[in-house]
């Protein structure tokens, strides 16, 4: 569904991605694992069109989308739940959700999608008129996921969805991710919680200083000695 081929990205002189190639098959969960600063967020943003890669190709559903700006990639159905949630704190929960459906592909059905999202997150239904910045971390993550779903994506890239959340809420987030996968969505999962994400994922890539160093099924990587030592604490 999504193919990344030899993608390189620079911030000024600093190289964030070095010839990254990976394939994200349809209706599967693909995990990307790596230390802080390995380039996971850069990779997601380069695919989404927030950063412009210096070389390489991104293909989605057979179409070359390299360097497309994000308002076009999102409109193709590539959604993102960004690191740090990236909500609009001075806008209400409802406005945050509505804006998720501002892309042309989602605008027609926005009202119906909003009902679906509010049914999925009943807590948000109660807090529609509250400013997003006043919500708890867990609630904010629900808004971020709901806002992404409002755009009717076929593929969702999750960037550290459990970061900074209470353990009980982390369980909720992983349950939602499993549900979305069960609904037939294609997912990319970047997580500092390596064990949970490898357990969930069909396949995974290990990213180190901007390079893919390992690729296999989630189970393979869970059993890999190097991965265990580096990311699972032995």
């Amino acid at each position: 569904m999504l193919e990344v081929e030899a993608l390189s990205l620079f911030y000024g002189d600093m190289q964030a991605l070095d010839q990254v190639s990976l394939t994200v098959p349809e209706r599967q969960i693909t995990a990307i694992v790596g230390a802080n600063g390995a380039g996971k967020t850069s990779l997601i943003r380069a695919i989404a069109g927030i950063h412009r890669p210096s070389s390489g190709r991104v293909r989605y559903a057979g179409q070359d989308i390299t360097g497309w700006p994000s308002h076009r990639t999102v409109n193709l159905g590539i959604g993102q739940v960004a690191e740090g949630r990236q909500l609009f704190p001075t806008l209400t929960v409802r406005e945050n959700l509505e804006l998720g459906a501002a892309v042309p592909r989602a605008r027609q059905a926005a009202r119906r999608t909003l009902d679906d999202v509010l049914a999925l997150f009943p807590r948000l239904a109660e807090r529609q008129t509250q400013l997003a910045g006043t919500l708890s971390g867990g609630e904010q993550q629900m808004v971020a996921i709901g806002r992404c779903l409002m755009g009717q994506p076929d593929l969702i890239m999750f960037d550290e969805p459990s970061l900074g959340l209470a353990p009980a809420v982390v369980q909720d987030v992983f349950r939602i991710i499993r549900d979305l996968a069960a609904r037939g969505l294609t997912l990319v999962l970047v997580e500092q919680n390596v064990r949970a994400s490898l357990t969930l994922a069909h396949q995974a890539y290990v990213l180190e200083t901007g390079r893919i160093v390992l690729h296999g099924t989630g189970a393979d990587l869970l059993a890999d000695d190097g991965v265990r030592r580096a990311y699972l604490g032995g």
Binding site: A82, Q86, T90, L91, G151
Partner: protein, 301 residues
């Protein structure tokens, strides 16, 4: 020049005079507010200070003057025309030029917009010369009496339309999807990109809206003062003072700041000397910067 304290006390103890001064200042201030609103909106969203703001107002004034002289159009009717033209101009300016400078250092943006201001002011000077241009409307000297207040009809119309346009802007930002998208882009640019909002288009729309507001303000201003190319930079500075008073990026702040400046100018004119009015405005600015640097309605940080 010595202050004449006797006339000062005479004026301040004259309730009717004071009330009329306050009302007149408020009405003028509402037009100032509309003018400054554009500056505030542009800064609040695009994070670029429009140093050509007063020049854009003067473009609106000359446009209204041309439409009055050649088409017999009342400046109030010229307003939608000039607002539309300035919207288009502002949109294209942002889309074609300023968007490339949004991530550049501030002094580079400053030079860019000063250059735009120079071009606009000198074009006005070339086309219209330095002479004052004024429009005579048939209600120019009508006024209505409300108790002790003498209200100039021309000022009431100008202020009324300023309020109407301000309310329209409020409604646009509050209730339309595009208005919400612009607020979202101002709130969190990365967040806007994440959900696929086209921020460059939103920036262009915002600059267009800001230019339209100041263009409409120029049409209203033509009812109150003469158009000359020289007032442009004065009004750019007046716009800054108002917006800094009210809080950069706050719509409500621009309106209240406009009224404050309108009233203080009128009071200075009545109590001290008309030529001292800008001194009072600057004094007020310094006071606010000292006591509440984020402005009356600005958020801290």
């Amino acid at each position: 020049m010595a202050l004449d304290l006797t006339s000062f006390w005479l004026a301040i103890s004259n309730g009717e005079l004071m009330a009329n001064t306050l009302v007149k200042g408020t009405l003028t201030g509402l037009v100032y507010g509309l003018m400054a609103l554009g500056l505030s909106v542009i800064f609040g969203v695009v994070r670029v200070v429009n140093f050509a703001h007063g020049e854009m107002m003067v473009v609106g004034m000359y446009g209204a003057w041309l439409l009055a002289v050649h088409a017999g159009l009342d400046p109030l009717l010229a307003m939608p025309v000039m607002a539309a033209l300035l919207f288009a101009g502002g949109y294209l300016l942002q889309r074609g030029l300023i968007n490339r400078f949004v991530t550049r250092p501030e002094h580079v943006q400053f030079l860019l917009l000063v250059a735009v201001a120079m071009i606009l002011a000198n074009t006005a000077l070339m086309l219209f010369g330095p002479d004052a241009r004024t429009v005579q409307v048939d209600y120019a000297f009508d006024s209505i009496l409300v108790g002790p207040l003498i209200l100039d009809l021309i000022r009431i119309y100008a202020a009324g339309f300023a309020i109407l346009l301000t309310l329209l802007l409020f409604a646009f930002f509050r209730f339309t999807l595009t208005g919400k998208a612009i607020r979202a882009a101002a709130d969190n640019l990365l967040g806007a990109q994440v959900i696929g909002l086209d921020h460059q288009r939103l920036y262009a729309l915002t600059f267009g809206i800001g230019a339209a507001a100041v263009g409409a303000g120029g049409c209203l201003m033509l009812l109150l003062i003469d158009a000359t190319p020289m007032i442009a930079s004065d009004f750019t500075i007046l716009g800054f003072i108002i917006v800094i008073l009210g809080g950069l990026g706050s719509l409500m702040g621009a309106l209240v700041g406009g009224i404050l400046i309108g009233v203080s100018e009128a009071l200075a004119g009545t109590l001290i000397e008309p030529s001292m009015k800008s001194m009072v405005s600057f004094g007020l600015l310094i006071l606010v910067l000292l006591i509440r640097p984020q402005g009356l309605f600005g958020r801290r940080g």
